[in-house]
Amino acid sequence: MKGLIRLSYRKIIDASARKPWDKLVFDETYQELFMQAQLYNQERRYQTFQELLDNVPNASQLHYLTSRVAMGYLKQLNQVIPDIANASGLLCLPFTQFKFEILASHLQHQEAHRIAISFYSDPLTWIDTLNANLVIAYGDQRAAWQAGTEISTDLIALQPYLTLSSFQPISPAPLP
């Protein structure tokens, strides 16, 4: 038993997107960025997202203004992190928290559009590590572990873009 963790999966969506959900999010966030960016670019002086950030005060609001169109699609995921399957091949990681960023874009060229959505899992109990797999239980099972109760577990393979984003020990660290 290691402790309570959250996993985070950073999903990059760009012009190479092939899955239907990814393509919708790619297209809709590009269209919304294109529309909203005109507010910060009324003289059409800038072409790239980075130029807007570098030159226009408050252009960083475009992250927020664009993320609003992704919300409906994020809700369609039914609070399950996409792409990351357990050892049985099923999506399994519940989430409620996410972070949306525009990584790059170009107001004339959609193929330069690139966003990242970081999904943060709800708390998981990290029991052990088997080869490149985390043995986890869903939710906070620290009390059940300490009581010696049987706990349902799952195996999640370590993989690119999946990381541990927080950790709490099984019991508070002793005071020094």
Binding site: L39, Y64, M71, G72
Partner: protein
């Protein structure tokens, strides 16, 4: 199972049915291309999978690791009622868009974004690149998008905006053509007598900051041109207010 395989398998079986049937029809007759589904009664049935109909037709349904098939959803802000959880005096906003390039005729099919602050002078600006929750339901208050009708009109249901230091009360408006190209970014100003009445006598509705600190003629946005940006606002504290305004764009 990989989604690809699942899609490939289901689509090829669908195509198998859908593509072969019309080919047979086409061979029989060049003119008869009417679909086989009858719609005379107003009801139609499209037959799906027969899997599970018998013991020899009973394979395990493939798991779908993608979750539900995504559908195109309008964003939350594409709506007429933009209040979310904000409270204040009832406020109806009617904006008509006209086109100077077409003898000032109504412009239909234009997208109109509006946003304004709440009764306390705050805008919704959640998240940014910070962590957000999928469960927040009121993160986008007092922001909305509508498409103009044949009369160039869009309507919004909102609450009477408050004010914040250094600006006269206002509504932001961004108008786009149907392709999303910006036509105009502007702001709508309020008649002072109305805002002063609200801010000094509608405490019961939560307008507790008192009189605005900036009048239109001192406002750095409106001081040069308020004549064309000043809305007509009618109503009362008890009934709420209605704003009516026309914006002319070059489309």
């Amino acid at each position: 199972m990989e989604r690809k395989d699942f899609l490939k398998r289901s689509f090829s079986s669908l195509l198998g049915i859908a593509a072969i049937a019309p080919m047979i029809t086409a061979c029989g007759s060049d003119t008869d291309v009417s679909p086989t589904t009858s719609t005379d009664t107003g009801t139609s049935t499209s037959t799906g999978s027969t899997n599970g109909s018998s013991s020899s037709n009973c394979s395990v349904t493939p798991s779908e690791t993608e979750g539900p098939f995504p559908t195109k959803v309008p964003a939350n802000f594409v709506r007429s009622d933009i209040r979310d959880d904000r409270t204040g005096l009832a406020f109806a906003i009617n904006i008509t868009i006209k086109n100077t390039n077409n003898s000032c005729a109504a412009l239909a099919g234009a997208l109109v974004d509006i946003w304004h602050c709440d009764k306390d002078g705050n805008y919704s600006e959640y998240g940014g690149t910070n962590m957000q929750s999928i469960n927040y339901s009121s993160v986008d208050f007092l922001r909305g998008r509508q498409t103009t009708d044949a009369n160039g009109l869009v309507t919004f249901t909102s609450i009477f905006p408050g004010w914040y230091s250094g600006r006269a009360p206002h509504i932001h408006v961004h108008i786009y053509n149907s392709a999303g190209k910006s036509l105009l970014v502007t702001q709508i100003a309020f008649p002072y007598d109305v805002t002063n009445t609200v801010y000094t006598t509608a405490q019961a509705y939560g307008y507790t900051k008192g009189a605005q600190d900036t009048k239109n003629e001192k406002d750095n946005v409106f001081s040069d041109s308020v004549a064309t940006e000043l809305a007509t606002v009618s109503g009362s504290i008890t009934t709420g207010y209605t704003l009516t305004h026309t914006i002319v764009v070059s489309a």
